[in-house]
Subunit: 62 residues, 6 copies
Amino acid sequence: MPTLRVEMLEGRSPEQKQKLVAALTQAVVDTLGSKPETVDVLLFDVPRSHWSTGGVLWSEKK
Amino acid sequence: MPTLRVEMLEGRSPEQKQKLVAALTQAVVDTLGSKPETVDVLLFDVPRSHWSTGGVLWSEKK
Amino acid sequence: MPTLRVEMLEGRSPEQKQKLVAALTQAVVDTLGSKPETVDVLLFDVPRSHWSTGGVLWSEKK
Amino acid sequence: MPTLRVEMLEGRSPEQKQKLVAALTQAVVDTLGSKPETVDVLLFDVPRSHWSTGGVLWSEKK
Amino acid sequence: MPTLRVEMLEGRSPEQKQKLVAALTQAVVDTLGSKPETVDVLLFDVPRSHWSTGGVLWSEKK
Amino acid sequence: MPTLRVEMLEGRSPEQKQKLVAALTQAVVDTLGSKPETVDVLLFDVPRSHWSTGGVLWSEKK
């Protein structure tokens, strides 16, 4: 039943996302003993224009 | 002031969403006694390529 | 698979929470046609000292 | 390390968003004493068709 | 209607939290033109034992 | 910069949490190529009285 939400900058490929959710789910199974089918992972692509660090959007950084 | 966030797979129609937010709001009013205007509901459509169960994205399931 | 998160000021009774999750789940079933067992609801009690409206924490309002 | 998430109705300009993240970050720095580079802000534009108040989506309000 | 969620390590004083929510709300008012009473801020204290950076919980860092 | 949030039923030991955040971080590093120090993981223990599946709180299930 563990539910994971991942926020990351947009731009990862579909293949990377497949591998990411598989690896995250395995990490939960290995460390918590959860059954895989009880693990949900939701991915959120955040545009560079919508994420700032230090008060500056990543779309504005050089 | 209760605030609800709903994450669901994309694909529901505008009419379903209208009915969903009305029904969820009524559920809060009926059970918590909140005034309707204090209840916010936010809907998030998650693409099948961004939600996995059991380590497999729904876009990859057959 | 719809997942709901509810943020509300702390203070509701266990009975209210039971009725709330049952009513919210039914609302999803009725409007989206989801099977009940696919609907998760997570409740978050927020202390009055941790929620502000208009820049004032509810613990400070009179 | 404070992380802020802002949900708002879509429609703000890129300039407003730049000013918003800068001002929010400064607010954290001023009041918590955090170093600016440790403050992340994520913005989420919510369509009017996906946010309801009082059980009515903003896209349906007149 | 903008809603802010702030996640931070636990340990800030009630006074810091009061100042934080006031300053964040003012930042939204100044940059987006929102009316103060439409701005909600929710604070979440995260224990050091529940936040990791680089794979190490802050409770384990030296 | 990827940020993960994990919601799970309360009851995991501190050791399980240490292993969990290490394994999740490694999964991100391995599949996305992120530097470990850019990966944050936040854990949220949800009481059984605050999570329902199928409209029934886990504290009420037998």
